[in-house]
């Protein structure tokens, strides 16, 4: 089933995917175990008319076993998830590459710092729905919304973050492979929600520099 995961091209993606796989294997084992037992019981213990059911109200040892084992697995899973979560959502690495994305019905408004090197000033260079970034570099995005809640989703980066009106949320990624990656909106945002889509162009540093020189000139600091 997991072969349908989009190709991952971000630095934190493999950690997310390995948790995904781990939970997949654990749940698959439980699913198969319970289903096989259930079908087996339905066949073995079907009413044949010549047997009386076992008169049993339960078994405390079993209750304890099947409380403790799932509890242990779930607690271990939580602890395994904590670090990856912190890495993606809590500790954005420092970087000199920062852009702003303001979501609005039904576009991603992308801003690069203008000649003054600062974001949020009048000389910002703006694009609709296109983000150009260099490969193998930490990119920080100041995410905001101008109207309703949108969600910044790049499937290939394993990255999703709601854009909430009234606040600016910092998200980050580091892409590991040049290419063109889709950026759909993942939160219902009105009648144009479907089709609110941007592109992230991950370029080699030379290509990116060329694009930046031509388009942003002078390039952002």
């Amino acid at each position: 089933m997991l072969q349908w995961l989009p190709e991952n091209v971000s630095t934190f993606g493999p950690e997310i995917d390995s948790l995904f796989y781990l939970i997949y294997y654990i749940t698959a084992v439980v699913f198969i175990l319970v289903t096989v037992l259930m079908v087996l019981f339905l066949v073995m213990y079907r009413d044949t008319g010549d047997r009386r059911a076992t008169y049993s109200h339960g078994n405390t040892t079993l209750e304890i076993i099947w409380t403790i084992i799932p509890a242990a697995i779930l607690i271990v899973l939580s602890f395994m998830s904590v670090n990856t979560w912190a890495k993606v959502k809590r500790h954005a690495p420092e970087s000199d590459f920062e852009i702003a994305v303001a979501a609005k019905q039904f576009n991603w408004e992308v801003s690069y710092a203008g000649p003054d090197g600062k974001l949020g000033t009048d000389d910002d260079v703006k694009f609709d729905n296109d983000i150009h970034v260099p490969v193998n570099k930490v990119i920080r995005v100041q995410l905001s919304s101008k109207d309703v809640i949108h969600s910044f989703f790049v499937p290939s980066f394993r990255l999703k973050q709601d854009a909430v009106p009234g606040r600016t949320i910092l998200v980050w990624f580091e892409a590991t492979k040049p290419g063109k990656y889709e950026l759909p909106c993942a939160e219902l945002c009105g009648f144009g929600h479907s089709g609110m889509r941007g592109w992230v162009y991950v370029q080699t540093s030379d290509e990116y520099k060329k694009w930046a020189d031509e388009t942003l000139a002078p390039k952002p600091q």
Partner: protein
């Protein structure tokens, strides 16, 4: 407890009440239960039809749906041959109303309204509910809210289109969705509906606490009653929060209060916190009665005591407590402080434990039984099978890093349909099981078997592949998946799901035919057709008269004494007195 209950058998004398007092403004919990059933079954047809239209659009985007051409623009665009094309705005309204109707007007009225009303007094040995007039009012208030929600389909601008979760700011200003009156009516309908549920909850709690028959200790109550009891307490505590949130949203829309609008000093996430503080207990409000019914049916048809009765009751209590501290798992990527995400992941993992306990105890109940695969048993097993999948898929979302990817994708759509739409299996199980008690006739078995097999196959065909779409990143609530390059290789699954869903819908005709045919022409039901232990079958006549019991039943034991060594038969009714002479015993 006995004095209130004892007052009722006096009403066992049949009184002519007239048509209106008997069938419309009835004070009898059994008639009120049936009224909720018919309302719920009517609404399920609408809710399911909306889903079919959603599925059509997803499989064959922007093609004409046959027979839809009668709806005027701008709601539907005319297509060839009398068909109609669904525009994006209508599509959003379709899934919004599908979820709203299924949750608030189908599952709640049937699982809680119908079976809560019908079964609680009968199963605990009471003559009626504690507050019959409040009970009647509860139905009629629910009826009004049903009228309000349906009326929103015909107002200018159409019905609400902001999702059943109605996230602010989208829902807080008419200009964002283009829906003005429809969204207001949605809020008002849910406000009214909440009042109805509150009245029901107060009634259920009071009845269970005060009106149990002599000997019906709490830990002799059938798990169905336990589940409805816990559900009622959750309803009583959760609904006021929804009511407050809805009132604030309505004020934002019509009075400019800006509770949720940042430009006026409000906070969009406040809505999500309030909505999910209600919304997560709501999930258990929906699923607990299904668990209770399933436990009872598995025991009855395995001819074996429920495995771990106390573990079952306490795991429901644990679920109820924990349901108050997991709401944040709906908000991992909402912009809420990520540290809170970590905390809510922990609580969410913990709530999976009592759910796991329930599944293992159901298995334990089957073990060593003499299993009778009746139609209600098959549906109960179907519920277990679906709940297993829905429970396990929940673990993916509980893990915060994995949720980053699958949040708001079809993975979550698959998950909650396995849990919430899976409840429909328990709902059918309950209808097939208690139909003889409600209407005095048996439902047809071959039709029921066909209904089960087709429903089980097409349910899984419709919902299982949604996991695949979710893994591929398919967003929920999008109008046209083919607009996205990365989803194009998955489109065949959308077609597969839609075909399964249409067949799932069509399979329900077997139920409709069976239900109405059996209502008038089914085989007359015996007193205790399933050889069950609980009072509704063993002590109350079929059909139960006003006041339910001719004499006050006295309870001697728990509900699950199947295959007890004390008696020759493999069932031992809760009200059967073994302390008397053998002659009486042999009756």
């Amino acid at each position: 407890m006995s004095d209130t209950a004892a007052a009722h058998p006096a009403q066992g004398h049949h009184q002519e009440l007239g048509f209106i007092r008997t069938y419309i403004f009835s004070l009898d919990h059994k008639m009120i239960g049936r009224q909720f059933l018919f309302q719920g079954l009517f609404m399920i047809v609408i809710g399911a039809s909306l889903a079919m239209l959603v599925r059509w659009q997803l499989a064959w985007p922007e093609t004409a749906v046959p027979g839809l051409g009668f709806i005027p623009e701008p709601y539907i665009y005319a297509g060839p041959n009398g068909g109609g094309i669904i525009p994006p705005q209508t599509y959003n309204a379709l899934f919004t109303m599908h979820a709203t109707i299924m949750i608030f007007f189908v599952v709640m009225p049937i699982m809680i309204g119908t079976f809560g009303n019908f079964l609680i007094p009968l199963m605990i040995g009471a003559g009626d509910m504690a507050f019959p007039k409040l009970n009647m009012l509860s139905f009629w208030v629910a009826f009004v809210s049903g009228i309000v929600i349906l009326s929103s389909f015909i107002v200018p601008g159409g019905p609400a289109a902001g999702g059943w979760t109605s996230y602010a700011t989208l829902s807080a200003r008419a200009q964002y969705t283009g829906v003005d009156l429809g969204q207001n009516l949605w809020i008002i309908a849910l406000l009214i509906n909440g009042v109805s549920s509150l009245m029901g909850a107060i009634n259920y709690i009071t009845t269970i606490v005060n009106m149990r028959a002599p000997g019906m200790h709490y830990f002799r109550m059938p798990l169905t009653v336990w589940s409805l009891f816990i559900t009622a307490i959750l309803l009583l505590l959760a609904l006021p929060v929804l009511t407050a949130a809805l009132a604030m949203l309505l004020f934002d829309r019509v009075a400019g209060t800006s509770f949720f609008l940042p430009e006026g000093g409000g906070e969009p996430l406040l809505w999500q916190h309030m909505f999910w503080f209600f919304g997560h207990p709501e999930v258990y409000i929906l699923v607990l009665p299904a668990m209770g019914v399933t436990s009872d049916l598995l025991s009855t048809f395995s001819r074996k005591p429920v495995f771990g009765y106390h573990a079952m009751a306490f795991s429901m209590i644990a679920i109820a407590f924990l349901s108050w501290v997991v709401w944040g798992h709906h908000m991992f990527i909402s912009g809420m402080n990520p540290l809170l995400g970590t905390a809510f992941m922990m609580t969410t993992m913990v709530i999976a434990i009592p759910s796991a306990i329930k599944v293992f105890n159901w298995l334990g109940t089957l073990w060593g039984g003499t299993i009778r695969l009746t139609v209600p048993m098959l549906f109960a097993l179907g519920f277990v099978s679906n709940f297993l999948i829905g429970g396990l898929s929940g673990i993916f979302m509980a893990s915060t890093p994995v949720d980053i990817f699958i949040h708001d994708t079809y993975f979550i759509v698959a998950h909650f349909h396995y849990v919430v739409a899976g409840i429909v299996f328990a709902l059918f199980a309950a209808v097939y099981y208690w139909f003889p008690k409600m209407f005095g006739r048996m439902m047809n078995v071959p039709l029921g078997m066909i209904h089960f097999v087709l429903t089980y196959i097409f349910f899984n065909g419709a919902f299982f592949p949604m996991h695949f779409l979710g893994v591929a990143g398919h967003m929920r609530r999008i109008y046209n998946p083919t607009q996205y390059e990365f989803l194009q290789p998955m489109q065949h699954w959308n077609v597969f799901i839609t075909v399964s869903a249409l067949l799932l819908g069509a399979s329900q005709l077997f139920f409709v035919v069976n239900f109405f045919w059996s209502l008038f022409a089914g085989k007359k039901a015996e007193q205790n057709p399933w050889q069950a232990n609980t009072l509704e079958w063993t002590a109350a006549p079929t059909p139960p008269p006003h006041g339910n019991f001719l004499t006050q039943p006295i309870v001697y034991r728990g509900a699950y004494e199947y295959s007890s060594p004390e008696v020759k038969e493999d069932w031992l009714p809760q009200d059967k007195n073994l302390g008397v002479s053998a002659a009486t015993r042999a009756h």
